[in-house]
Amino acid sequence: MKRKSLAHAVLRAASLLAPAARRAGWLKEWRSELWYINPDAAARFSLGAFRDALWVRRNQPRRHLESPLSCLAFLAGAASIALLLSICLPAPELPEPAGRLRALDLPFGTFMLSLLFLAGMWAAMRPARYRPRHGRARRAIFLMLKLLLIQPVLLASFLIMLLTGPMPIVPQLLIFGTWGFGLRWILLDQQRRCPVCLRLLTEPVRIGSASETFLEWYGAESACSRGHGLLQAPEISATYAGSRQWLALDASWRDLFPEAAERQ
């Protein structure tokens, strides 16, 4: 019995190498096999779990920035590099009447302009009607964190543009373009996430065709990998399908989603 408990401990340690989303299912499989193993061979058998867990990790389908944490970690990394770059770069000289910039002018200006852009784009982009009541605060915090973390990146790009000297086109347009691109990405990323778990929606499929516009909506449908629901995005705006709609799925659907089923 002691030998089997040692093997179970080895399996538990090896499971840390398996990706978190598949860990429970992976451990269940190995524990089930271990039950049938002769206790004398259990320890040796369980050692193979390390290699298997590594294989599972190496061969898992890659979905970059899928989880909210990985997205924030990526932005934090980019922000750190951008901050370091901003500190190392000399302060840009601007022609009169702007003169030499003060230390806080650029960050403050960047943040205020970001808010302005964000407000404009929020109004311009079609709002998605998929806002369940619970988790609203979490979604707002996630959006604000992304907005804050992208500031150093915008600031660094601003500095680099100013330091590269005279440009063939109006520099402000380039700066605004960079801002617009960064902030648009933040909004689109927010819209592509499950409102419940904030993971990126996956497996987009096209539904219907343009010729069926008067019979049924057509567009794309994406699913939450944890089975929380489906996001239906119509290709064109119609009276019956004007904007994106979130179709929440209850727990009875979870078996259809392997990631959700493994977590149960």
């Binding site: 089930s32 096999e33 039950w35 193993i37 058998f45 193979g48 779990a49 290699r51 298997d52 294989w55």
Partner: protein, 104 residues
């Protein structure tokens, strides 16, 4: 017909063992003599390549007393690949004689 995938000798042995009726990971290990760190990743790779497919035992009176097991079956693609491997490794069939421990 599409070309059958070329399998290594070890992978072909595992595929042969599954085809011979050793449908559980441990019985494949037992029959081939390969360690668990080789057999289980190989089974996953074979499943990813759609040469075999796995299923969990359905709940039954037997599984109330013991944990359910995952078992493997050859797919049609797997059968084709195994047939090609048998030509490449003629001794393959004798390495894992057909199942005497099949329990389902």
């Amino acid at each position: 017909m599409a070309d059958a995938p070329r399998l290594s000798h070890t992978t072909a042995m595992i595929l042969q063992a599954v085809a011979a009726g050793h449908i559980y990971g441990y019985t494949v290990m037992d029959r081939t003599g390969l360690p668990s760190g080789t057999v289980y990743p190989a089974l996953r790779r074979l499943e990813q390549d759609r040469l075999i497919q796995s299923k969990w035992e359905p709940p039954s009176a037997a599984t109330a007393l013991r944990p359910p097991r995952k078992y493997y079956r050859l797919t049609r693609v797997g059968e084709t690949a195994l047939a090609a491997s048998r030509k490449r490794y003629p001794l393959l069939a004798s390495l894992t004689p057909a199942g005497d421990v099949r329990d389902s």
